[in-house]
Amino acid sequence: MYNRPRVIPCLLLQEQGLVKTTKFKNPNYLGDPINAVRIFNEKGVDELCLLDIGAAKSSGSPDFDYLKNIASEAFMPLSYGGGITELNQIKELFAIGFEKVIINSAINKDDSLLKKAVEYAGSQSVVASIDAKRELFGKYSCFIDGGNTKIKVSPAKLAKHYEESGAGEIIINSIDNDGMMQGYDIDLIRQVTESVNIPVVACGGAGGVPDLKLALEKGGAHAVSAGSMFVYFGRKKAVLINVPEESELYREGVYCDE
């Protein structure tokens, strides 16, 4: 059988610009998101994840007109997160061409949002995102509001709770490893994949294709997402949208044909 775990570029938006953070801080402006989306579309990537890290702060809502422009250029599965607080926004996102919504902060404040979203669109379209940080003694804690507010629950427990509430997928993001390009936090990923039966997307820290394989193999992730490795190129981290060739993903064992 054919095994193609999804490799998902994760693009951060802020005020209609494409940015990349390090440890959830210092957003570095990279350029025009629409241009980047066009390139990812041409390269035929498996899926694209857009997170507006400014939406919650600036308008308190997704920037629908802008997102509509992006969706009209992207003929692949598209997910969006950032500033989603109510069901009407979720409906609007589906109407303009996104088929997955990613929620994080809002579901911790309003438990019913996740259930309402699942009722409306089905589990497969609702992704719960968990931002986690390493603590002492191999423990992890979860954060909302872009890494600013700590909530008292472990990533494994939170993931289980989201699964029971109907989420179809979990994205687990390591705040410590974000933007470092030194590999995923495999322990964190494994804690989450072992606690749920729904697909888990690993995010945070990938520097190259071998890291993707580790998250799948050692972490048990079902899909892998990354930011830096798709927008920075070479040792000096020049800004360049780049996607590993399919042949490389096969060679490194990320994809395989049995």
């Binding site: 059988m1 054919y2 969706a71 003929f75 692949m76």
Partner: protein, 204 residues
């Protein structure tokens, strides 16, 4: 003019986006009149089988679909749940389907639990009937994007247009004359899906 049926569920935006890209004229149809005026129909759909059928019936789209497709021979393409509703029924619910193609929908079931349900992600398909215009000039081993927990089981191999392997072989696309259905999402499958929608708009 291709009518994309709007009965309250489904990702209409992305289907319209792709059809616009290939230059097809489209209308998001939320009235019977718009469906009657169109040359071709696309039946999208996400969510549960029963909810989909109930929403269709509430708008009385079921009757007009059957009339337009059976009497007026308009081509129709069902996508994902839209495809499943072309069959008789589904293990997912109790509602009757449109019964336009002889198949039932069954849930994926595997001997070992190594495989996740839903089947979500990209997979290759094999084309069973190469003569069909929907798959005209589509090369072997193209990949398409799937998200589903149920799949069609056709009474006859004649109604299977494409197959895919997830634990076992299942029908990835079904056919019955002017009635077409794809379990995968062509509108989310890059140029592979674009070719198929282009065929539907120009060749079917």
């Amino acid at each position: 003019m291709i009518a994309i049926l709007d009965y309250g569920i489904g990702n209409l935006g992305s289907i319209k986006n792709m059809l616009n890209k290939i230059g097809a004229e489209t209308v998001i149809a939320d009235s019977i009149k718009e469906i009657e005026q169109a040359d071709k129909l696309i039946l999208p759909g996400v969510g549960s089988f029963d909810n989909g059928m109930r929403c269709l019936r509430e708008k009385e789209f079921d009757k007009v679909i059957i009339e337009q497709v059976c009497d007026n021979k308009k081509p129709i393409l069902g996508i994902c749940l839209g495809m499943q509703m072309l069959g008789r029924k589904s293990e997912e619910g109790k509602e009757k389907g449109l019964d336009l193609i002889p198949f039932d929908n069954k849930r994926f079931s595997f001997a070992d639990d190594g495989l996740k349900v839903p089947h979500m992600g990209w997979n290759y398909v094999d084309i069973i009937n190469r003569e069909n215009n929907l798959v005209k000039d589509i090369e072997e081993k193209q990949r398409y994007y799937f998200v589903h927990s149920y799949h069609a089981v056709c009474d006859s191999r004649e109604n299977v247009l494409m197959t895919c392997d997830y634990g076992y072989e299942f029908a990835a696309a079904v056919i019955n004359g002017n009635i077409y259905g794809t379990q995968f999402h062509p509108e989310k499958s890059h140029n592979f899906g674009m070719k198929l929608l282009e065929n539907f708009s120009k060749e079917c």
